[in-house]
Symmetry: C2
Subunit: 378 residues, 2 copies
């Protein structure tokens, strides 16, 4: 029996969170609900569509909650994610990275046959040609979004002229539908100051507008202009050029985004919903303890986790290898078996380490949700 | 159908590696076999036992190959790993981290009933008392190994006196068997220079010897003295104090260990067997490409991967977020769809991101092995 199956009988038992084997990925159900509702209300008030990014949560359950709250569809970073979520009944998905190899394009064509509402980005004429060839004979056109590089040089066409050429090629293809543009300013999402982030996005949006102006002048005004993220959603909505938001991390609010001023207002618009529960497994040095969570329980790309409960909030965390972390809190006496709750350093890759969310209300386990698309990076 | 199931029909087809969806964890079967044979021959020649660490590979298949080559047993970092491997018929396992919470100790007692040859470390009298209580009525004694802190302050007792007290407590317990000592110098494994690493281990081994001397003088000479790693195995064998080696990474040889001189000799004793195959999915900037592998395909705790094939070896790698990496190679023209093979940065947490090994001989997929204990950190 897996350790997760072992936890199922704990569902609904008062205080059962304390009986979980750890490290466990813990999701505060009420905080999640409030975050989803707050973003939905924001989008409605600002007349902007939502297409939340499922790369953050990889969960069919959470995607369905977002769709039920009014989201137009969801985003997937990879084809494998979209396949996994489609298997659980999620439709209306945009794949936000180009799907390029012949083997992947064959899978994309198969998924397009299977579900309605699948869209994909492209940034190269060879890729558009391959998509057109692979969808020949399909019952419906495949909507393709032109990916615009905002200056990161990750993906996207590099100039307005290249965007125009690609849009023309898509629009001219019998089996493809020119659906619009993607513009994701990844490098700007985590600028800590709201004013500095706004200035950076205003600058990048001038460029996006120049691309749209060129396309419009050629009769190719984009229907969808998709992009933005949790860091810039208020700025994007205020500027009014992007018309659907690819917000992801707002559902969980990891430590990276907690360090950002998201609204320019005193009260952050979202709250922490995702935690890692851990236990002290060694406590032989004064003011110091070793917990059961290391590189295989916490992503290492986004700094260290913080203590949310079970130890002093100011305790310093150090990675101690694959399976362990150290907490140091001068003057605090750790005890063997102490339960410590951590915030996630960077939520997306942390979630990708786990097979399931332990959904809690307070200290009671109320559900277990699979991380539907865990490891589906292909 | 998962992307891995999709790959099964490729097994045995000439050149089928090129048709894999990526990112894919690729294992060179012959290099793996040579590494396992080389370590087995080394251990035999030096009359030292092997207990290879399964936290590196988390694979029942590889554990069985190591056992077939003469290993005395294997190590697991966590109870969940041991449960997963036991489910595939692997026995004779030492759990190298303390198992502390009541829920975990209950699982340990259940596994001890189920399989013969399970051992666990302990570093605290409360934990030993809890193990003794949980195994009451078992058909056989549970062997317990006293974990000695070599100065890392991760796990282990902090003094020879504490080691003696714990050994006495274990030996006096009706249901526990005092099996010996664990001494793992994690901080010294990656010292790049062989001579400096040897000096550090000689110093730490003096301390270990002082612990053993005290235990012997009290009639508690340890049967097993387990420890060491790929970085120090030759030094440990030469010093002759440790009598079984917990080598892990030698099966794969990641970039971290390739940067170490493992033998003080010109030819490294092991070769790279583990790779990540990736594809170029965007190539719109000169001398630069974006590949389909980022934080969710490559661990970030151990530096960057290197290019093994498909692009210039001197290409620089940069992480570009969850799902992407950039390669920069001045003067090289990347093409959309190019297949690029990378070495693993740090093998253990990289393997933990994947559900399966794609086992290859040259460019032909010859098997698919599950990562049996993936995510089993509990």
């Amino acid at each position: 029996m897996s350790d997760i199956d072992l936890h199922r009988p704990l569902i609904g038992q008062q205080g059962s969170r304390t009986a979980l084997n750890t490290p466990a990925l813990v999701l505060d159900r009420d905080a999640l609900g409030r975050n989803i509702a707050a973003m939905a209300a924001f989008a409605k008030a600002n007349a902007i569509a939502l297409r939340p990014h499922a790369k953050t949560h990889k969960s069919a359950e959470i995607a369905k909650l977002q769709l039920a709250a009014g989201a137009r569809g969801i985003c997937c970073a990879k084809l494998g994610e979209a396949e996994a979520l489609a298997g659980e009944g999620v439709g209306a998905m945009l794949i936000t990275s180009p799907v390029v190899t012949p083997q992947a394009i064959a899978r994309l064509a198969a998924l397009h046959k299977q579900i309605a509402g699948l869209m994909v980005v492209a940034d190269h004429p060879d890729n558009v040609a391959a998509l057109a060839a692979a969808t020949k004979g399909a019952a419906r056109k495949l909507p393709v979004v032109v990916d615009i590089d905002p200056g990161i040089r990750r993906t996207g066409v590099a100039s307005p002229q290249a965007a125009l050429a690609l849009a023309r090629q898509i629009a001219a293809s019998e089996m493809l539908h020119y659906a619009g543009l993607q513009f994701y300013c990844g490098a700007q999402q985590h600028i800590a100051s709201f004013a500095e982030r706004r200035a950076a996005i205003e600058d990048r949006t001038l460029y996006l507008s120049s691309v749209i102006d060129l396309l419009r002048s050629e009769g190719l005004a984009p229907e969808i202009v998709t992009g933005g993220g949790t860091g810039t959603h208020r700025i994007d909505a205020a500027l009014g050029v992007i018309n659907e938001l690819q917000v992801g991390s707002y559902v969980f609010m990891d430590k990276q985004y907690l360090d950002c001023d998201l609204s320019g207002e005193a009260i952050p618009p979202f709250e922490t919903a995702l935690f890692i529960d851990a236990h002290v497994i060694s406590a032989n040095a004064p003011s110091m303890a070793t917990i059961d969570s290391g590189f295989k329980a916490l992503s290492t790309d986004g700094g260290n986790p913080a203590v949310a409960a079970g130890a002093p909030a100011e305790a310093a965390f150090f990675f101690m290898g694959d399976e362990h972390g150290a907490l140091i809190a001068p003057g605090h006496e750790f005890k063997l078996g102490d339960r410590v709750t951590l915030t996630a350093p960077h939520c997306d890759p942390t979630v990708n380490l786990y097979d399931a969310y332990h959904v809690v209300r307070g200290d009671t386990l109320i559900d277990i949700w699979p991380v539907t698309a865990r490891g589906r990076s292909r």
